[in-house]
Symmetry: D3
Subunit: 238 residues, 6 copies
């Protein structure tokens, strides 16, 4: 029995609200149940120094949590003067995952920065950020076409991400905070809408996990991500 009463293979309510703020080329509020993340995609007319003059673009991501997005207030990273290890790990994961969505050569010498700011946290913020960030990215790429800066969108494929885990001995999909904080195993799965894996990160929090549990979790993840691709499509139609 899950704390939320969901079935083991059931996602939380998924909502993606485009144009949530007005300045960014892409701006999506993504909600996985009570987890709420603002994902903006900002186009910049330049590339990082290591790519200068190579005729290709870049996608990168930054992640942050509002100090009171969580049950207890966390210190503000800007005032402590550095980003924590968890933040850095997550933003690197988001950046790697979303780069897989884009043909960087077709993007030309533009960058897109995906900012993922958690305004309310209830587990799964990094998977929500990747899934919602991909929608913001699509809008930002389309804005380059609309402005005549690119002939067509360099989007190669959609990217979706979900967490799975083993909780009380049962493999479950899309863990909320109550599950995440007590799960034996926690795995984040990032896939393309063509069915390939982009990234797998599984961690045994307590006991090691077995091949059979891995297989069960991957099966749940595949099912959940397919539903996320439907939700992305539906949001992009509006």
């Amino acid at each position: 029995m899950r704390p939320s009463g969901r079935n083991p293979d059931q996602l939380r309510d998924i909502r993606m609200t485009r144009h949530y703020t007005k300045h960014a080329e892409g701006a999506v509020l993504v909600e996985f149940g009570d987890t709420k993340v603002i994902c903006t995609a900002s186009v910049e007319n330049k590339v990082p120094p290591f790519l200068k003059g190579q005729g290709q673009g870049w996608i990168t991501a930054e992640y942050g949590m509002l100090p009171r997005s969580t049950g207890d207030r966390m210190g503000r990273e800007a005032s402590r003067g550095k980003q924590g290890g968890r933040t850095i790990e997550i933003q690197r994961l988001i950046g790697r995952s979303l780069r897989a969505a884009v043909d960087l050569t077709a993007l030309g010498e533009h960058s897109v920065v995906i900012d993922c700011d958690v305004i309310q946290a209830d587990g799964g913020t990094r998977t929500a950020a990747i899934t919602g960030g991909c929608v913001a990215l699509v809008d930002a790429l389309n804005s380059l076409v609309a402005q005549g800066r690119l002939k067509q969108s360099p989007l190669k494929q959609m990217i979706g991400a979900i967490s799975v885990g083993v909780h009380n001995g049962t493999p479950v999909l899309d863990l909320d905070y109550a599950e995440d904080s007590t799960a034996e195993t926690d795995m984040n799965v990032i896939m393309t809408d063509k069915g390939g894996f982009i990234e797998l990160q599984g961690t045994a929090e307590g006991e090691p996990f077995e091949q059979s549990e891995l297989d069960a979790m991957l099966g749940l993840a595949r099912k959940g991500i397919e539903e996320l691709f439907e939700a992305q499509k539906s949001a992009l139609k509006d």
Copy 2:
């Protein structure tokens, strides 16, 4: 003629949405037109080192802007490793202003941290933050009473803040970004609901301003802040 078509003494639409996020003791989304700030008030069971053992509490504030809350993306302060001078100036102003709302001795050895995070900026973020932060603070103080940690709320008075300025030679109320970026003079006025001044900060951006302009601006501010007190009251009734 103002860019927005407003009269010189006209505020933008003011909205304050309480309980905007679920974890904080006070959580208000405040909107002054297109300026949107999430203000959370977090109660902590301790005071800063310089107040230990003195039998009084503390109110402090932190301020941040999401990187793409603005027209061009700003660098994220957490990843640059320090808060900018403007940020520090603003959060000190918010903290000083909201401390005036509370009887710190009656608060006992508790702290309330007001986090003001701008999710969309269109001028006047600091005045919105103070005005909305005061409502979040009221909710946080009431939570201390509801939990039996205080007998009654240590709230002394409400605090409201508004910007006024001289734009194209005309004194105007509640400048939006289009006005703010070209105004000759910009002044932030913070008052109590009993009519006294808490803080005045006026800056001549181009030409110096005269006593008569100061008087006109203060008149506008007084009118605007009265409307803000009405909006706070109405929000707190819901």
Copy 3:
């Protein structure tokens, strides 16, 4: 009765010693009673990145206190690795105020950096810094003319600054530390020698202040700043 025995509208002894150190283009020791600040103005043959190629110059300021300029030793900002919030607030104020003295376009692509280092503090360091810094600035601008780098000084007007406040219920001029640390209200007023306001920063430390108190403080400030302009003129004649 003021702790120093001064009348409410009486400045402390004001002294400005030019050429206090030998390397800087302008170098003034300014004393407001026991408050002593070394103000140097350094000409640099470049402008900040955001002004490159725009055919105008820049004035900026930095502020610091020697660790034992105060009653208790303060930690050295350089060894703590960052400037405190108060320092940043003050140096931004000095910079804004002194930029108003100069026609930046006539300055051409030069910068002048005003360094204000407090060697002894007794209240009013920021107003002393602005008033003395303006004299150092004049010397630096004249050095550009003397060296043939400018045809004439781009000085538009002199800038003076003074603090006023309400102490024991009485509006007073030029607060020393004994008054400043117990004043109900503290306001810094920065004006041009043509009588306009450049900046007003008033803060109620305890009780809010009323319009009548504001008017009384502004009257005192106007009188005091006129005396400061006389002192600047006299120093520049030597």
Copy 4:
């Protein structure tokens, strides 16, 4: 054909030299071919603040590369003033993995810090660090028994780690730098000597990877890690 001429399922030469330096309780030079990492395990008589008084111990890790352990010199993290994102990611992974080796309650209020410093890099530094670090950890735990501070070693199980990947379309074991820098997929697998997974981190560098490739990589990893457990055992016998 692999650049090194190895078979797809062939490890590089594995060497683990205990007592490599004299001060640490555990000190192992681990070599996976040309990749060389000094792993020291230091016992400390305290736990981090978040664990104080909870009757359990802690295992943590730090990772660094000598600036010229690599083909091009990298900037020294200590002089740049912060650890890079890759460093932080890796040291968190090492710490999580090695905590799984130990019964933290049986460890009592002691910490063991595993320092992994790469003196020569040729791919697979993090897996070498975990595998060699586990041997250093065993020595450090035994030193606690030898000193009479613990009755018996709190070691639960050995941990081994290896990288696998898809290179030129072929799944391969233990990638060296030549392979790692051009692989389509790179996965780090961390397992216990009882056959369970502790951590899985797979990343598609170019094309997504399929379930069949994942299965093949996991098979290679399982074979390689078994050989690593033999190498650990053999080193610990000496």
Copy 5:
């Protein structure tokens, strides 16, 4: 011929002005010709963590230069966020040297912090700082006696410091900037008033120096430092 016209064994004019500022327990303006350093000695009622409970005191030093104490303006260390390597080297030297003046056990659990701030630099700032700092230290130690916190001053001996060098092939005493910047060898000598060496730091800037040059420089230093002890005595008599 020296640029200043001095004889090879001639000091610059040495001046030490006590009570230069009013807050510190010791406050000396020391001048070696045009080199001017404010040295304050601040008594603190505590010791650094590594000395807690050991029944002894501590002497430490910090060093800084006002940004425009030099011919070209240097960046302010506080705003760059760290002290430069030269600063750190110098303040460690001052601290080590002045600790030799005091019986730390007799000092009890007090610290004295010597702040040396250069307001005008013309070579030899570190030797001026040590020589003047020692006088400030004496005053601070005496203040502990005057306040009844110590029965007698824990001063063991006076410390003096001077630079010597080889300039244009000639050994010279007390180099000013014109000499220092072109000297072949530069050596700082710190001695006690009983004739022993506390610290020697000699550096060949261009050609190596020979034993005979070393001997000549040490002879000059000894002569110069004796004059400095006279100057210290005379200052302390006033």
Copy 6:
């Protein structure tokens, strides 16, 4: 009697192993008894900004200690976010000393960075680093000739460094940790193979030292450094 049983004028066993790691142009493991330092010399095709376009090269050094190179684990400087004062002092000394080995004009616009990383510390790490770093530097300079980037090596002279001190009243050569931590005086002497001094740094840790002790220490140092030059020559022959 020395703790190690050595004669007062006896060095520890000196070993220099070239090509210790494979990537750097020069890579030497230097051992002075149990003190072990990896010195790599990295050629870079550029010079620091302050030397751009001046037709000369640069030699610089960085120094670090592995956290557990010492008896107690030291915090890792990279994770604390800054290099300690001792580290900075030492790396500046190494850089100054090794610059004296090279004709910087003949080096052309190349830099050589000497990284000295202590893997095991037992006193004398800075003198080992200079002595071994000089051998790595020779290899790096020769690599420039071998690659045809320079016609001949810009090496002017070899540099050697040794510590001497007064321990239990006796002047001794090459102090190990047991001596260093209890010596009355500690002096580092850096010389050229032509017999001149490059740098002298003597510090009285407890009692001041006298001229006669200085002379005795310099005699020991001269003898020891001659043996180091033999060891360097022998290493370079292999």
